[in-house]
Symmetry: C2
Subunit: 214 residues, 2 copies
């Protein structure tokens, strides 16, 4: 299987959706699916599906379609979901707690091994199976544990200070809920931003321009 190493972010951003849909089909014991049917679920064209999957070497058989379980497994490998990357959560406020409780990290390639907060009232309390630790313990914890990534659920004004420390400990991958521009400060970091307010403003735009969009 040949694999194209120059894959656009828009293809990559569709992969989690392929993976979700294939996981569902797999749970429904559906063995195979045509590119036409997969395209319909994905809301793209069949040619787009074939193009997308060709970036990673194909997987389909003409006249048969795709094997659901095989394609699911291939995409799982491409996404790297079996890596069990060690993550720490910074910020156990409303958002941090919701993220920790809401997400099934293990299925998404991560293991949450610690959470930190600067608020003394939160320290010592439980979040999932973890005890919230004070930020002052970050240094020791990061020296004693190999951490692959940090989930930042803290206000923007707090990010720079914590980020400088985390980067100093060698953490170069971030799931960032703040508006702080991490990649701009440290260009060798990998960052995935969740900008809730941008998403809501986009909805506002769509509503305000309904006639042009629909």
């Amino acid at each position: 299987m040949s694999r194209n190493d120059n894959i656009s972010m828009s293809v990559i951003r569709r992969l989690p959706r392929y993976y979700r849909f294939l996981s569902e089909l797999n749970e429904q014991n559906i063995d195979k699916i045509s590119s036409t049917k997969l395209a319909e679920i994905m809301n793209v064209t069949a040619s787009q599906v074939r193009q997308d999957l060709n970036c990673f070497g194909g997987f389909g058989q003409q006249g048969y379609g795709y094997s659901v379980s095989q394609l699911k497994e291939e995409i799982q490998n491409i996404l790297g979901l079996n890596n069990n990357y060690k993550a720490i959560l910074i910020g156990a406020g409303n958002l941090g707690k919701a993220v920790a409780k809401h997400m099934n990290f293990e299925k998404l390639g991560f293991e949450l091994i610690a959470c930190f907060d600067c608020n003394e009232e939160k320290v010592g309390k439980k979040l999932n199976n973890l005890t919230i630790m004070h930020d002052s313990l970050l240094d020791e914890f990061c020296q004693n544990n190999k951490i692959n990534t940090a989930f930042l659920c803290i206000p923007r004004v707090c990010v720079e200070n914590v980020l400088d420390k985390l980067y100093g400990y060698g953490i170069k991958n971030y799931w960032n809920f703040s508006h702080y521009d991490i990649a701009r400060k440290y260009s060798d970091t990998l960052v995935e931003n969740v900008h809730l307010s941008d998403s809501l403003m986009t909805l506002c735009y769509k509503m305000n321009n309904r006639d042009k969009i629909l």
Copy 2:
């Protein structure tokens, strides 16, 4: 000012970022900014900035740059942030609560006027200044109030049932945190999805392919 009505979603998705940066500059009492400087903050090219803003009629003056407060206000109008759209929250679990407490809705064009949950234990409790209501009151509430949009913070399996009701009440705009495909069921809805797990899987992909990406 002429305005191009055929604006791509990628331009639209950059507007909230322009708005955020311009708001910050405005708070710092910075009067004007060149496209070069704005491009640097936005992490795009100056030509991209000019192209983006030209979609909406320009705003810049050659040799002067952009007036920060004027451009901020123009983008605010384009996004429709002054509309004060009435919103209800469905689901006051961890995620719903975090969203309600975390977001400054008024600044983003919305007013949250009610929240609903099917869990009797949550009903009657306070969330911000609102009292959580039982789902069974949705019908009455929606008949007596003009609601523009619903924020869905419920598990995917619960969405279809609630969505059918909300759509029946005439609500056609959704901020959706579940993986349920609303627009596929009702094609005349406007939907903005927040797919946290897709975002985390994308980070996993980036980490798993670090050498190719950086």
